[in-house]
Amino acid sequence: MSNREFTRVAEAEQLQQGKTMRVELEGREVLLCRTAEGVFAVDNLCTHGAARLCEGKLKGHRILCPMHGAAFDVRDGSALTRPAVRALASHAVRIEGADILIAFSD
């Protein structure tokens, strides 16, 4: 864990509670989600049909895919409902001052 490199990807004030934001890091799409519990980062592509989750909706701590309605827990990426069965990759998040930083977990 200690050798993970955190990179600045967004300004914290751009991400309101209950909202998501698509960012790109090293060519990979990542979804930032701000819930009542904080900011979380998961891959932006649904593990079922590869639809963009940024076009879906965040409800509480669930991100819902716009294509088939599959739900993932943004806190750890776990798949909550069919048709998705594989978890999203979940990434470490750090808030430094006004910035949101993430580090890939894989």
Partner: protein, 463 residues
């Protein structure tokens, strides 16, 4: 034994009535709360098998749940186009969806191909279209058939025959109702007096503050009947109030009780066991102490005031501030009392500020011996404020206590008491040598009315 053969249903608890209390409140009550509507509905026992027989439960699914209006979710669950809610009742599952900004529709949650449920578990979700997880058939949010993979193999399939099966859907008071009966009568007919009675208390301008969903160890009817009378308060809640509650039956579908909070009738406890709260009766200060659970400013009743008027005024001030709504003109009864309306077969709506709930009871899957109890606390929305995203339900299993939901506060032990008798009742219903349960003519008339309306749905003729 009371051998009084006076006209059944006429007798009432001794002492002041709810109407007497409302007449002396510091502010006038809304007219619907002054209306009284009761008639004797009979005194025959209700057969225990209605609560225990799997065959009766099956008939309920066929003849009741497939044909009655029932609330599926709140409109606040469906704020954006694509927001949907899956509502399950026994073997049935319905998708309710906001298909357009001004349109909510409902469909049977079943694929037109090989009948797979399109969406999994109950609750809220969001999607741009509906897609069956089995072979990938898809439909628009309006239920119209959109895409069939390997279309060449299905020349016999078209939108006319294979769109999603529509379910009747309508709204009232911010609740979304569905009816699985293709020939259902309009919801408005079914609501009877409810729209008129809730004009002073608009439920659409309320939001879900808390939703608790608990599995209860009894038949759904036994579960809801534990909440249809206040007769149990003395024994179950160790409470002096409720013995003089008012009960109204407004027709086949709607009934009500009004249970005063913040005063009670010592005379109404005349033949209850012991002398508790009767000799001597509680002082106004002692009553205020009981009400302190609500969070009051006063700990003593000033001269010339009553515990009820003091509590109502303290709550007006405190809740106006915390909720951002003007409660200064709200009557004492609406501020304090448990004003509980029941809509057939399984829904409860409260018209009170401090007791602001909505309930729904239904079978737990196909099990005759357990029920799901949805408990909502509805909070007024501040002027001009729109509904926030509703909270997810806190789910409790049979063995869990309401105290595990911290947000329930003082209500948690009350609901543990309310539900604590239910396993015993379900067991007793199965082992009783007496074949039926007996109901009070007045205090339990609402329960009888539900069974009588059920008989109409179930096509049972008792006569």
């Amino acid at each position: 034994m009371n051998k009084d053969k006076a006209t059944p249903g006429v007798a009432r608890a001794p002492g002041p009535s709810v109407a007497d209390t409302l007449a002396t409140d510091s502010r006038g009550a809304p007219q619907p709360l002054l209306d009284q509507d009761y008639e004797f509905l009979g005194d025959q026992d209700i057969d225990c098998s209605r609560y225990t027989s799997p065959r009766f439960a099956e008939q309920e699914f066929d003849r009741l749940w497939a044909r009655c209006w029932q609330w599926a979710c709140r409109e606040e669950h469906l704020q954006d186009v694509g927001d949907h809610y899956v509502y399950d009742i026994g073997p049935y599952s319905v998708i309710v969806v906001r298909s357009a900004p001004d349109c909510i529709e409902a469909f049977v949650n079943s694929c037109a191909h090989r009948a797979t449920r399109i969406l999994g578990g109950e609750g809220s979700g969001y999607t741009g279209q509906f897609t069956c997880p089995f072979h990938g058939w898809s439909w628009g949010l309006d239920g119209s058939l959109k895409n069939v993979p390997a279309r060449w193999d299905f020349p016999h399939v078209c939108a006319d025959t294979h769109s999603l099966q529509r379910v009747h859907c309508d709204t009232w008071g911010g609740f979304v109702f569905v009816n699985l009966d293709p020939d259902a009568r309009p919801l408005a007919d079914y609501l009877d007096v409810l729209p008129e009675h809730f004009k002073h208390f608009p439920l659409d301008r309320r939001r879900i503050r808390l939703h608790v969903q608990k599995v209860l160890p009894c038949n759904w009817k036994a579960a809801q009947e534990a909440f249809m009378e206040a007769y149990h308060n003395f024994e179950t809640h160790d409470s002096p109030t409720g013995a003089n509650a008012q009960y109204d039956v407004f027709g086949k579908y709607v009934s009500r009780f009004i249970h005063n909070i913040g005063n009670y009738s010592a005379q109404a406890l005349d033949d209850y066991p012991g002398n508790k709260w009767r000799e001597p009766p509680l002082s106004e200060n002692e009553i205020l102490q009981i009400l302190s659970a609500f969070g009051l400013d006063h700990d003593e009743v000033p001269p010339g005031e009553t515990a009820r008027s003091v509590a109502a005024e303290d709550l007006r001030r405190r809740l106006s501030e915390s909720l951002g709504v003007d409660l200064s003109l709200v009557s004492d009864t609406v501020m304090l009392d448990s004003i509980e309306y029941h809509l057939f077969p399984n829904m409860f709506f409260f018209a009170g500020i401090t007791v602001p709930m909505a309930y729904r009871f239904r079978p737990n899957g196909m099990d005759v011996d357990s029920a799901i109890f949805d408990f909502l606390i509805l909070e007024p929305l501040a002027e001009g404020e729109s509904h926030p995203e509703p909270p997810e339900p806190a789910r409790l299993e049979i063995e869990q206590s309401y105290t595990e939901v911290e947000a329930l506060g003082w209500l948690a032990p009350v609901y543990d008491e309310d539900t604590g008798n239910l396993a015993l009742q379900q067991q007793g219903l199965k082992s009783s040598r007496k074949r039926g349960i007996t109901l009070g003519n007045y205090q339990e008339a609402r329960i009888r009315r539900v069974h009588q309306t059920m008989d109409e749905f179930m096509e049972i003729d008792d006569e």
